[in-house]
């Protein structure tokens, strides 16, 4: 949380609120913990804890059928879990807004995070997602706003990939 006056998770939350996102699906994730907390505390947002990320893709499709905006929060490892379910927004041309916290890159301790982390962007692009990469706190709000417009105005799949250097490394020994 360096540089910006407002922590990036709070910037993201404000963008979701201004963008009328009313359903937020997530698999619990350390990088997204503050944003998840903000969503859970907001009475106008349906926070939906998922057992696997692909559930959030189907959730967002249902929300859109019902005229409600949804976003999906996940860690990089969850991208692989979504591939087939992304057929749904691809085939039906539905909005799919994803915020992905990266593992397996900047100062990663756990090598098991590297295989999926290293292919997140190509996998998303193969799934016809428009991918935005964010490295600095001051890029978070404008990028998220752009992503939100693309997803809901154009009914397309948009991913905001939040770099590990933004999130900070996981502390392993406390």
């Amino acid at each position: 949380m360096t540089g910006a006056t407002v922590p990036w998770a709070d910037q993201l939350f404000d963008v979701l609120k201004r963008g009328h996102v009313r359903q937020v699906g997530y698999v619990p994730d350390a990088g997204h913990s503050r944003l998840i907390e903000r969503c859970r505390a907001d009475a106008d947002i349906h926070d939906v804890a998922l057992t696997t990320e692909e559930e959030g893709v189907a959730l967002a499709a249902g929300a859109w059928l019902g005229g409600m905006r949804s976003a999906l929060l996940m860690q990089s490892s969850g991208v692989g879990n979504c591939i087939n379910m992304l057929s749904l927004p691809r085939t039906c041309r539905m909005p799919m807004l994803m915020f992905i916290t990266m593992r397996g890159e900047w100062e990663e301790f756990n090598p098991w995070q590297v295989p999926m982390g290293s292919i997140v962007e190509p996998v998303l692009k193969l799934c016809e997602a428009h991918v935005h990469r964010v490295r600095k706190p001051e890029e978070v709000a404008p990028t998220a706003e752009q992503a939100l417009r693309e997803a809901f105005n154009d009914e397309r799949i948009v991913a905001v990939v939040l770099s590990q250097e933004l999130i900070g490394k996981k502390v392993w020994v406390k």
């Binding site: 559930e55 189907a58 967002a60 249902g62 059928l65 087939n84 041309r93």
Partner: protein, 193 residues
């Protein structure tokens, strides 16, 4: 192949009989999509031709978005098994206007009648109940089915029902499969834009 259970087309027809406009229906890919089409096309049906394992979660997103309407997911045992975690997720949210109905014939009909896990003993009603869905039904005969139809008409709590159907493949009734068109007509029918 089992001869026990209800006729799937008749069961779907009974559930959809005198259907009110507030009922939105999401079938699973394969046979339940054909069953729903056979019961009569409706703009408030969102047929699935893919997204296996996603039907219940689509229902959840829709139910949360449209609290004044009823949402029925009618899917097969194989489709439900692929997304079994969705029952735990739905058990957390428990929207009052969501019914998950599983047509269970114990086989994967679309792919050649291979036995499913329910044939081997997996009990979907017990799973749903254990996930916190307290209104659960095991529909085994006509009387149970009529009770399910009544409860669907007067939906007041998240409902899970497993409907025992015979393992047979009636002639396919193939509805629209253009996803964009299905989405557009569904949203137009309920007045969202």
């Amino acid at each position: 192949m089992s001869t026990d259970g209800l006729d799937r087309r008749a069961a779907m027809a009974l559930l959809m009989a005198d259907r009110a406009d507030d009922l939105l229906v999401v079938p699973g890919l394969g046979s339940t999509t054909y069953d729903l089409a056979a019961a009569g096309d409706n703009d408030r049906n969102f047929y699935l031709w893919g997204a296996m394992g996603g039907a219940a979660m689509i229902g959840l997103g829709l139910a949360l978005a449209q609290p004044a309407r009823r949402v029925a997911v009618v899917t097969g045992d194989g489709e439900m098994l692929m997304g079994l975690g969705a029952l735990a997720t739905i058990g957390l949210k428990k929207p009052k206007n969501l019914a998950i109905i599983v047509f269970d014939n114990g086989v994967y009909g679309e792919t050649g009648m291979q036995p499913s896990h329910t044939r081997g003993g997996a009990d979907l009603v017990a799973v749903a109940h254990a996930c916190g869905i307290s209104a659960c039904m095991d529909v085994r005969d006509e009387a149970d089915l009529e009770e399910l139809a009544r409860r669907l008409d007067d939906l007041s709590a998240t409902l899970f029902a497993r409907v025992a159907i015979r393992a047979e493949e009636p002639p396919r009734v193939l509805p629209l499969r253009d996803g964009v068109a299905l989405k557009e007509r569904f949203r137009a029918a309920i007045g969202v834009r």
